[in-house]
Symmetry: C2
DNA sequence: CAGCGATAGATGCAAATGCATGTAAATCGG
DNA sequence: CCGATTTACATGCATTTGCATCTATCGCTG
């Protein structure tokens, strides 16, 4: 690196983003190579996970799409695959004839929990030796703030 | 959310990772929808970028693969496409008959610079309103530390 | 230095992805 | 309330991706 971080605001922003991105790549690479994702791709698990966190149990397809880094059409087909495997259930949205609601089936919930347990252990095994608790809390705070600012337009 | 962050080390780690991941998704979604990536996919740009940062100019394919979230075979074909477009050049590695060295062509360097300028502006436009300079520096520090710990085995 | 496992990269092939577009329903403007 | 625009999701199709496997070379061990 021929420059010092913080030299200019623009450069600092770029370096911060690159570092965040590379860290995500490094962690994700480890996670997805683990045995937890033999049964299900990461994106597929992510959909099950998001559904499992949904208070009402039902979630609109377009809301799901905000969470996942996939095009609308890819998500549509991913959900189609999950449905074929009996992991999620579709239902036309009651208030909006265009929309589709999704929820986990019992099998979907079971599989999410099973993978989730292993996944959380893997995450912990990577994060705990890397950062102290207070560093993790700070990282959590900063990434939440970033996400809020970016996706909240 | 039915739980408080920091309740347990394992949960804190999981929430921190999820927040980091979602922030990355949110930022990436914005970046890749910008006009900077009409000519080139993000992963393709990333390869050009990494090559542009390489001191010697030449980089081994397997070293490149550590930076990018792609399988070895996908990277192999991605590079093949870049070569066909005249953006990178291949050369057999001198010390290792199995290896391949890569470098940017002039056209590749020009395209990287052009996209890079726009890309950096986009990043700055997202990061600057989201986090103060010192927050960005802290985020940079934490993600570097995380990456170092995770990829350094 | 002969044999053997490990590593770097390429390739066949099936699956996943994105773009463009299609269909249908909602919303808006007059 | 009607036509035009927008939004939600699905689908055809070409491209990209990953898994398994193949080839070639490297490094090690006897």
């Amino acid at each position: 690196m021929t420059t010092q971080p913080g030299e200019s605001p623009v450069r600092l922003a770029a370096e911060t983003w690159e570092s965040l991105f590379r860290a995500q790549v490094a962690v994700m690479r480890r996670l997805q190579s683990g045995p937890a994702f033999k049964a299900l791709a990461v994106n597929e698990y992510d959909v099950l996970f998001t559904l499992s966190r949904c208070p009402s149990g039902w979630l609109r397809l377009n809301e799901l799409n905000d969470n996942v880094l996939l095009s609308q059409s890819s998500l549509s087909r991913l959900v189609e695959r999950l449905e074929k495997r009996g992991l999620v259930e579709r239902m036309p949205a009651p208030q909006d004839g265009r929309g589709v609601l999704l929820k986990l089936t019992d099998a979907g919930r079971d599989l999410q929990k099973q993978i989730g347990r292993e996944h959380v252990r893997d995450i912990s095994a990577l994060m705990t030796p890397a950062l102290t608790s207070s560093e993790q809390r700070e990282l959590l705070r900063l990434t939440e703030k970033l996400r809020g600012s970016v996706s909240g337009r």
